[in-house]
Amino acid sequence: MTSGTAPKLLGSGLIILLLVVLPRFTSTYIHSFLIDLMTFVILAQSWNLFSGYTGYISLGHGAFFGVGVYGFALSISKLSWPPLLALLGGGVVAVVLAFLFGIVFLQVRIKIAYFALITLSLSEIMRAFIQNTPGLGGAQGTTTPLIPTPLLAYYYLLVLTVLVTLTAYLVKRSRLGLGLRAIRADELAAEVSGVNAFRHKFAVFLVSALFPGLVGAINVWFWSYTEPDQAFNIIVSFNMVIMTLLGGVGTVAGPLVGALVMGVVSELLSTTFPFLHAIIFGLLIILIVIFWPGGVLQVTEQLRAAFREKGRAFSGHATSQSKE
């Protein structure tokens, strides 16, 4: 265990403990806000797992969320599976879709532009497909049985949040993460040095589809109703990108920070100024790309370094004075 790990471990343990006991003392409004927030965190983290680590920007990761939504809704209402099994079903359906997609489009070194477009269309294709298939609920959508208590969704999401963060941490530190970073830097060079690019991308793509699928399933249980436009809303895909960029691409803490910022800002602004928060996020994204490609984390890092520098200069000045 390295020196930096213990405080990190302690800090995350405390936060988790706080989140476990928090629902006992707060209102249902706070519950639903935290449910949204954790949904954001998991979505951002799983987008970052694939797109952040490999550099292949996916604009349609919301497809896996939507497929998870429908996997759960249909298996619980049409096949009357027990909820826990249906949740897993949502995740599995997302992984299957990712498998079919990945085995075709990750084989080749596809251009970044085309990958973004293909993923964008994946989400739209799924929406159109379900809209036009009466057997899957069609454009009217489907209802699911009511969740016994919103707290159930809360705790499921909490477990998933911890799991996805842990996964991101482990992937980043592992040999797999090293390979992914090599692919991001230069895929051809990585392949030449012995990284099996397809296997690396494929593995992490499947994992990055599993979590949105599960989150979609939990969310629809909480909503108790869904329709294609809601499940495959392009905003979900876009939010994943925005949050990760905001926090810091390719880091473990970045998506967490980005999701927090996004959750709080959109909660504050979206009701009073419906379009303003999207404009603000657009501006932030442009500024981040140009000036701070590392996101909020880079800014805080720079500020901390600047303060340290200042402090050192100050103390150095003091000691030199005392010598005199």
Binding site: G55, I57, L59, K111, I112, A113, A116, F238, V241, I242, L245, P274, F275, L276, A278, I279, F281, G282, L283, L284, I285, I286, V289, I290, P293
Partner: protein, 239 residues
């Protein structure tokens, strides 16, 4: 399906196709030549369309005249975007791939800005420009006069563009494999003070550097131009 229905559908498809081809020409310039991935291109089309709509609704300006007015407006917008977004990206990134990645993300931000400004200003309802709606009767089918005009313009503009690219000095100066590739080959980075060790010494890059800057400016302006006129011709908002 009778023959006349087929012909009518065919003509309508060709009208839409000619509009899309204008949009695609602009996108091809900015992506094909500069490797700038402008995913907010459709938003520029939408803004061009709104310019034409408001010119028509407020002052009753003929859409055919506002097509001429909207082009310089959209060109100015292209220059502005060039200064505010594209130039800084070109300064910060060196490889084609990182330019593509950075511009994709930055223009994603631009897309959010344009779309939500338009939404908050003008709402979500469809707008139409009722101009030249008089139907023209051919032997087998009927088509509105406006669509015929659109088709005509859509068929002429690609040839003008092609002539511009192949005959004019600016067009000929366009490197065959795209500007980004050219920069990769010569390791050019504009605005860089100290060359990297494998760079061509900076002073020897001076000619191409100036050259590339001028192409950048023209490239972005040109891509704004067709989208402006295409959007103008769409006549209503597409999202």
């Amino acid at each position: 399906m009778t023959f006349s229905v087929f012909i009518a559908l065919f003509i309508n498809g060709a009208v839409w196709g000619s509009v899309y081809s204008l949009v695609a020409m602009g996108l091809n310039l900015i992506y094909g030549v500069m490797k700038i991935l402008n995913i907010a291109h459709g938003e520029l089309v939408m803004i061009g369309a709104y310019f034409a709509f408001w010119l028509f609704t407020l002052w009753g300006i003929n859409p055919l005249i506002s097509a001429v007015l909207v082009v310089p407006l959209m060109f100015a917008m292209g220059v502005l975007i060039q200064w505010l977004v594209v130039n800084p990206i070109g300064r910060e990134n060196s490889s084609t791939e990182s330019i593509e990645r950075a511009s994709l993300v930055a223009f994603f931000g631009a897309l959010l800005i344009f779309q939500n400004i338009a939404l908050s200003l003008w709402g979500t309802e469809y707008r139409t420009v009722p101009y030249l709606t008089k139907p023209v009767q051919f032997s087998h089918f009927v088509i509105s006069a406006a669509r015929l005009v659109i088709l005509g313009i859509g068929l002429v503009l690609p040839f003008l563009m092609s002539a511009f690219l192949h005959k004019s000095l600016t067009g000929k100066g366009r490197p065959p494999h795209g500007l980004a590739e050219l920069r990769n080959r010569f390791c050019l980075r504009r605005g860089r003070r100290s060359p990297r060790e494998h760079d061509v010494p900076f002073h020897s890059c001076r000619g191409p550097v100036l050259h590339s800057q001028s192409i950048y400016r023209h490239g972005s302006g040109r891509s704004g131009k067709p989208s402006g006129s295409a959007g103008q011709r769409l006549g209503h908002r597409r999202c």
